[in-house]
Point group: C2
Chain length 558, copies 2
């Protein structure tokens, strides 16, 4: 690097994933060059009415697009790669990731018809790559998806380690333990690790997260004890989980069928790339399940979160094309409910039980293990890498705060810990970490094909409409402001009209007399008339029924 | 009982609380007489847009009002007494409950201006009462509210035990352990317990629920280690929890202030009735907190569920009248998040941390214990009472199913277990338990002052409005069907108009040409015109932006 000597500071700018769960994205700025780490989506919370997806605000990256040298990806989960199709419409730079990560990304880019223009570069964990002046090590870690990596990005001030989502699984399914040695080596190197960015998701959990192997033992127990059909729902991207179910199927002489779009997709990709080993003759088409004995079938399905249109949810509702849940079926939901989905998962379980299935779910230990590090693993990451500065990531404020607390306990001085907001320019130098301003950042909402066209005003209206509905008042007037027809009142989402005729009639006559008064006073300004309508109706409705519907006066001049 | 010999069957009709969490209500029918057990509310789930409360459908009770002999209450929680004001508008019968239960009910009836017409009869736990021909024993159990009772209602076929919500706390705060002896005595009596109705809330939890005392120890630890201000949020009705905080305050020389309407109310009632012991000079007004040293203050507050307008939520947001959260404050949230509230609680914690508070919440063991029995207690209840028939209650289907499973394990024959739906007429006789038809039942939705006027159509509209908003198309036509003005398009909650002018213009011209075509074909029927507008707009909008707003054509004839 020619300009290495000149660099006395590096900046990291989180565009997502701090102060929130999801849409993880980080920009590393060194000299004139930018490197993007991950570009995820977030699934909308309940208050984002009608929104399909949330992506980071790319403004800063796009304004500086000429300086962006590339994008490095840690793993293939939606909250790390799901935003890329939207970014890549604006930016064409090489993208680096492990084989499975890029395999999953490919499918996504195909859907968005972006694949042919993208430069995807496979990196094997354990290897280093050059992106502009950046040297990036891909370091194997464990997670609930295969081929996940932490990244070490070398700078003249020392490497920055971006741990991303990880856990330390001492007995991983594929035998690939995390690269403790590399982490230790970096921790021992000169001048030492500049900064660690680490996963705060499970910081509230004591101890160590259980090994994925534990689920295998539970699966084995269930298979051994079950004489009828077995249905397993899990995250389609959890290839190791799928492998364990397949292994048990093999052991207990069952064939495997798959259902659910993402399950079929991911299994296809993972098999093709060698992450999932299934003998071809073990796989049957779901349409052939009916012609086989129940005790020779395992069905792997999506729907572990109770998503309304996922395969398991359809089975529970009784509208799956090929599978009818029946007495004797054993359904294992091998996942935990993501916060916000508890109700949906619960409803699915209720319905499966009602159809006669034996449901094994979260409260049975070993049905699922987390992919995120618990407190002892987080401390181990800190102690292995011995960073000068620490930035907790991937969490709401309380998770970041608790993670900062943990870091203090293992000896990181308070002033070397930075709890970030999105958009913060975090400047690291030999002497200190400081906030050096901020860049535009936030939520960009995706609703249908619209990107960013739904903002606070539209959401506020949706909220108001959702709570008490809308009353529309139409009046036609002539050129002199005299009422010709109306007021007519039309409502939606307000009251059941047939049973509320009286209320509507009374409301109409309220508006009538308010407008009559305007006429008597020669008031013809539309804005005044509209306000009069709004106010007279609002007062009356609230007094009568304590609701605040949206009131929309429409005046038509003919 | 004169007609005792004639009775060979009794019926129980759940009007709420089975297949759902909340609005617990049961009707016992024996001969010509009805007895109502509890009348609760349910808090609306997310899909009930704009709804404030849900109560049971009282149709059956009201139709048979002359046969209702009285209402017996097990405890004072909303999901057991909250529906009474709505029922009592239609029905005037005596109401029986323990002192605290009726004390809490009184407040509620006052608000609804019903108190003076109601006949409230205090019963002490351990006592029996006569209601019509019914003999009802009030049996002490433990729960997260003081003065909770199970009920044994005697019938010629043996007593029916309605366990309601309960736990067995071996070291309760008030020293009042559950009346094991009475339960055992009933279990041993001749002809034995006819049926047990028991709480399924915590059936998924193994072992025993921890004693309330455990929280006292945690509170003591926190008080001992804290030098600054302490703020404790908990359920206002959890009087024992409040007592433990007050006791710790006394021990560590702190004064107590209260904030939040229900906290002030409940503390007032509980003190007045002798359930809460607080020396008068320990209580300070919240307005005086500022003039006292922080280490001499404990604040007890509502808001443990992150409710938007509760006191703790206001403090977290920084808009509480009297309390500003500051560095050094310790906030203990002594509650667990009720399913659906996790996000709100999380947000409150995030904000409190941001303001510098040390927050102690759910993940710290002993901060909260449940008020509901776990598996071993549920089995103990079954083994003590040895019922002939068993009906799991208070739970969604999966809870009832799991509870039924537990009952089988302790030896209740499968055919003697009844998993009920609301409205089922459960008929018990010497020989068997069967479903003998069903009565009208369901959710009655309360929105503002409206009771039951919001139904499926209104909710469907609200959902549609909430997701993609509304497009209103107004056209004025003359008597011959010729368009005079319009079409004008007005939208709310659909797109941000300023940035979507093009879309709206294009949509308008679509509608124009569709209407023009109608005109050319001499089509003047309003329904056809409306459908034409709807269809042309719908197709266009979905194609352009993949959204499905509600489309409302309005035709005005002048």
């Amino acid at each position: 690097m020619s300009n290495e000597k000149k660099i006395s500071e590096v900046k990291m700018i989180p565009l997502g994933g701090v102060g929130e769960i999801g849409k993880n994205m980080m920009v590393l700025e060194m000299g004139d060059e930018l490197l993007i780490i991950d570009t995820g989506v977030k699934f909308p919370e309940n208050d984002l009415l009608g929104i399909d997806l949330v992506i980071p605000d790319f403004d800063y990256v796009i304004k500086n697009r000429d300086r962006v040298k590339g994008i490095v990806l840690t793993h293939g989960h939606e909250d790390h790669i799901g935003g890329l199709p939207y970014l890549l419409k604006e930016l064409n730079v090489p993208i680096f990731g492990t084989k499975l990560t890029l395999g999953l990304l490919e499918g996504k880019l195909k859907e968005h018809r972006l694949l042919k223009d993208c430069r995807l570069k496979v990196v094997h964990s354990g290897n280093s790559i050059n992106v502009g002046s950046f040297v990036v090590d891909f370091i194997r870690v464990n997670h609930s998806i295969a081929d996940a990596c932490a990244l070490a990005i070398h700078t003249p001030l020392g490497p920055i380690i971006y741990a991303s989502d990880f856990k330390f699984d001492q007995t991983p399914i594929d035998g690939e333990v995390a690269d403790f040695h590399k982490l230790a080596e970096l921790g021992d190197s000169e001048p030492g690790v500049l900064a660690l960015f680490s996963d705060s998701t499970n910081v509230e959990r004591e101890g160590f997260t259980l090994s994925e192997k534990v689920v295998g033992e539970t699966v084995d127990d269930i298979f051994r004890g079950t004489k009828d059909r077995i249905i397993v729902a899990t995250f389609a991207s959890n290839i190791h989980r799928v492998q364990q179910v397949v292994d048990a199927a093999f052991k207990y002489n069952r064939k495997v069928a798959f259902t659910g779009r993402s399950m079929l997709n991911n299994v296809d990709i993972a098999r093709r790339l060698g992450y999932l080993q299934i003998p071809q003759d073990m796989i049957i088409d779901i349409r052939d399940c009916g012609s086989m004995p129940d005790n020779q079938i395992v069905l792997l399905t999506t729907g572990s979160q109770g998503e309304p249109y996922a395969a398991l949810t359809r089975m529970a509702r009784g509208d799956h094309y090929h599978i009818n849940i029946k007495d004797g079926d054993t359904v294992m939901i091998s996942a935990s409910a993501i916060p916000g989905n508890e109700k949906f998962v619960g409803q699915t379980i209720n319905k499966l039980y009602k159809r006669g299935a034996n449901v094994i779910y979260e409260d049975v230990s070993g049905v699922h293990v987390s992919g995120h590090a618990s407190q002892e693993e987080l401390k181990l990451m800190l102690n292995l890498t011995k960073p000068r500065y620490f930035v907790p990531t991937h969490g709401e404020y309380r998770h970041l705060y608790r993670h900062a607390d943990l870091a203090k306990k293992v000896g990181i001085p308070k002033e070397n810990i930075y709890i970030a907001d999105i958009g913060d320019i975090i400047k690291f130098s030999q002497e200190k970490v400081v906030k050096a301003g901020s860049v535009q950042s936030g939520n960009v909402l995706i609703d249908g094909l619209g990107i960013g066209d739904v903002g606070n005003i539209v959401l506020r209206d949706r909220k108001m409409l959702s709570e008490d509905g809308i009353i529309i008042v139409v009046v036609t007037i002539d050129k002199h402001g005299k009422i010709i027809t109306g007021p007519d009142i039309i409502t939606r989402g307000f009251v059941y009209i047939r049973e509320s005729e009286e209320l509507i009639e009374a409301a109409t006559s309220r508006v009538e007399s308010a407008l009559k008064e305007c006429e008597n006073n020669n008031i013809t300004e539309w804005s005044v008339l509209k306000n009069t309508i709004r106010k007279s109706l609002n007062d009356y409705i609230y007094k009568k029924i304590k609701r605040n519907p949206m009131i929309l006066p429409i005046i038509m001049e003919v």
